[in-house]
Amino acid sequence: MSEPTPGPVTGAGSSPGATPVISPVTRIRDHASARPDAVALRDKHLGIWREWTWASYWEHVEAAGHAYLALGIAPGDRVAIHAENRPEWLIADMGAMAARAASVGVYPTNPAAEVGYLLADSGARVILVEDQEQLDKTLAVVEECPALAHIVYLEPRGIRGRYSHDKLMSWEEFLELGRRYREDRPQALGEVIAAQQSTDLATLIYTSGTTGPPKGAQLTLANVEFAIQILVTQGAFTDPPPGPKDLSLSYLPLAHVAERIFSTWFNAGAGTQVNFAESIETVPANLREIQPTILFGVPRIWEKQLAGIENRLSGASWLKRRVGRFWLKVADRLGHRLVETGGAPTVAARLTYAVGWVCYYRALKDRLGMRKVRYAASGAAPIAPDVLRFFMGIGVPMHEVYGMTENTAVATANRPGRVRLGTVGEVHPGTELRIDELTGEILTRHAGVFAGYWNKPDATRAALTEDGWLRTGDVGEWVEGTHLKITDRMKDIIITAGGKNISPSQIENELKASPYVREAIVLGDGRRYLSAMIGIELETVGEWAQRQRIGYSTYRDLTEKPEVVELVAGVVDEVNLRLAQVEQIKVFRLLPKELDHEDGELTATQKVKRSAIERSFHDLVDELYAGSAS
């Protein structure tokens, strides 16, 4: 293990109060005065895209900010946002920041109990709910949240004229309140913004909590600005840095730090045009319409795209199938070449690609909505290198990046042209990162390291060392002295009965790279051998079964078909070939149901909660190790 060369720590906002602090809000204000008529946001309304100019975006942020002031929100207060991605999310978020309040994003999939926990824990005073469904969740827990004084709803359908609650008001009423307040005191918000401190709490981002209840990570304005400096202005991800000509599609939950970076902060920092997908189901269609230039996805999204391509290809007509197989094989070769050269193509590769582009890749990327992508990234969870290589092969410049909420997602990234597959890339200049010699844990230190967990001093003490290093909880190692490779989450490492340390996530990702596998959970802690619980991908396996003329009724029925078990066994055997003896999966069982957030098996970000799975499927686990004396 070699030590990286740590650069000087660049502190942001080191002299609070002296000069007005730069924040995303002031950046939006500057965009609005510099080019009021340029596009800031787009959303789809009744089937057509409409645009929000910087002037109208800022006007709405101002109105929302004044409305928060009118509702008596004081600096340091928290306001919650419980909606799908839409312009109002950003307006409410930035409006709160303008009023020096901190926003708390709530996942749209959060059930009422979790909403109650988040509201009570954060002490939010206002919540913005999207529609009747989300309003019902809040109303179910409103008694447990004494701090909650106002509920603002966006979609009046089913609410207006049916609900009466003294805390309830519509988004229009909310904005109207702000606009009236602005008429009376036009300078009010400006003064509050001018008084912003870099230590102000910008947002509380609740971590997904695969083990315990979610913890609210406090990010200050200094943290956010540092992240914008590193990731946006200095272009730590993209080369050249993002600009007003770049388009992005906002579709992952804004309550998560990754989407916040790529939507809100890229937009405020570099003026990129944010386009809101209608919903997660329409992402493929929206991608084709918008053809973004910057695209971020979590591994699940990329895996699904890949499975979709394989699936549609096998359903294509004979000629198309042949042509497709041929060019994908070429793409695979190109991908391997690119991996060897770090993502910078050779002349021969460029020529081959040019021919393939005319015949195949152009159309393929157009169908995927990635024709204009100049930078694609995967992050937030580990991904199988095969998936990344596939996209690199077809000409989507793919980069794996690494970061977490607690360091405002500033840690490492694969830089364009210097990609090392299987690693999460190089340390950003101006930040520090080291690997603990004893435990192998990754630690980071820079101005983006968070201000601690909300109301959880113990957890904060456990996460931060005395000299300001953040314990990421990830185990890693250096590759070629420059690139960081993540082995696994520290608490997930499996130690078999034989005493071998095994990283389950790598095996799981190898399995998940198959289009037929949606979830894989590798077990074996303290056991003699490894086993796996595998969840099949209903769409692809269902299609496969239809082609094989295997009838099935439900998901569970499908998982019990011997042919399907055999299909998955083939996948497992193939993966086993690439693994060392001790890492091989000896037995596996198929999960009888699709894992779900509502049932507590997945987090809001679709991460598997291992403990919950092992609890609810304990009979399966017992079966896996039946007859083995462990």
């Binding site: 596009v39 309304h45 057509i48 101002e62 109105a63 053809q291 549609r312 198309k320 393929l364």
Partner: protein
């Protein structure tokens, strides 16, 4: 900083993103995609270049085919778009043809004539008289649908034929006939050979321009409020009524527009052919138009044009047949002859297309287009 409230507005176009629609106008534009615009432009250019490449007889056939295409567009509006099966198209064609012939006819001649030879007058007049006839008949027709409407419009053909045969002052009478309208535009003869262009070249160009006007109007109609209400009536009349579409009025309008097209078509076709007699406007003519619409692809303008050209060129093709198939005779007195063969072919083509390619020639084109559009997948 302004404090005026700015609401989000419809989006400007995004370059290089054909699937992006920022306004409904863009989505329902006459030619809403770049390839469509380009291809229509290319086809029009080629069509205007043809008179200098082809021989005069071919041009004459094409000009008449264009005339038929205008009539087929009319039938497409009532049958393809509004879903009202009409077998009476031949009757409206006759009304138009006789109106035009009477207007431009010799005042001193054997039959009625007013000597107004300007096409700018007799063509609209032919259309309007036919449209008016359509409106008069519509009250009966709008009460019926499907098979019953077909029978009533069939009756129309027979009544029309009877009137045409008996009214010999206008039509010249059965077996005699009269001259078609003279094509002249403010002193410019459109069918007679001049110094620069031959008569057939001029006729071809005239008909091409008129066809373009009628086709664009039909395409524009299809996307308008009226056209969409036609489609609603076709797809489910009761549902259309629930959407506050006035059924009798919509059907009447459909009849009127369709008859206007038929009237103009009749006037033009027989002006080109030169001489015609009442028996021309028989059931076979109606069936021919039905064949054009069905083979081309009901409900689409480009399909109808393809079908009309195909059916109008069919006699030219079958006339070559006796050279290859010696048992088929070219003379109408022998059996089997090419005229019988033509009629059999119309029937076979209609049946064949309805069975195997219900969306017509247009459907074949759509399939080819979709194959490449969905590249590299199949869906």
């Amino acid at each position: 900083m302004t404090t005026t409230i700015q609401t989000p507005r419809r989006s400007r176009r995004l370059p290089g993103r054909p699937a992006f629609f920022g306004s409904y106008e863009q989505e329902i534009a006459l030619f809403n995609t770049r390839p469509k615009q380009i291809w229509v432009g290319v086809i029009i250019l080629v069509a205007f270049g043809l008179p200098f490449l082809l021989t005069d007889p071919t041009l004459e056939t094409l000009a008449i085919a264009f005339g038929f295409a205008i009539g087929a567009l009319g039938l497409n509006i009532i049958t393809g778009l509004a879903g009202q099966v009409s077998l009476g198209h031949a009757f409206f064609l006759g009304v138009g043809a006789y109106t035009a012939a009477a207007l431009s006819g010799d005042p001193e001649g054997r039959t009625i004539g007013f000597g107004i030879t300007n096409i700018a007058i007799w063509l609209p007049a032919a259309g309007l008289v036919a449209a008016l006839t359509g409106v008069v008949i519509a009250p009966i027709a709008t009460r019926l649908r499907g098979l019953y409407l077909a029978i009533v419009t069939l009756g129309l053909v027979f009544i029309g034929q009877h009137i045409f045969e008996e009214w010999s002052d206008l039509t010249g009478g059965a077996g005699v006939g009269r001259e078609g309208a003279r094509m002249e535009f403010f002193g410019l003869e459109l069918t007679r050979t001049g110094e620069i262009l031959s008569g057939d070249q001029k006729a071809y160009l005239t008909l091409l321009v008129l066809l373009l006007v009628f086709a664009l109007a039909a395409r524009n109609l299809a996307r308008s409020r009226v056209g969409r209400s036609f489609a609603a009536v076709r797809d489910r009349d009761m549902a259309a009524e629930m959407m506050a579409i006035n059924l009798p009025r919509t059907k009447t309008v459909a009849f009127a527009i369709s008859s206007f097209y038929a009237g103009c078509s009749g006037a033009l076709i027989y002006s080109l052919i030169g001489f015609f007699e009442p028996s021309s406007f028989n059931l076979l003519l109606s069936v021919q138009f039905i064949a054009m619409v069905l083979i081309g692809g009901a409900g689409t303008v480009s399909g109808t044009l393809m079908g009309a050209l195909f059916i109008s060129m069919l006699p030219t093709l079958t006339r070559q047949l006796p050279d290859y198939l010696t048992f088929i005779s070219g003379s109408p007195t022998d059996i089997p002859n090419i005229f019988q063969l033509q009629e059999v072919l119309y029937g076979l083509l209609i049946v064949g297309f309805l069975l195997f390619e219900p969306r017509g020639l247009f459907g074949i084109w759509i399939r080819i287009r979709n194959y490449w559009k969905s590249w590299p997948f199949s869906y």
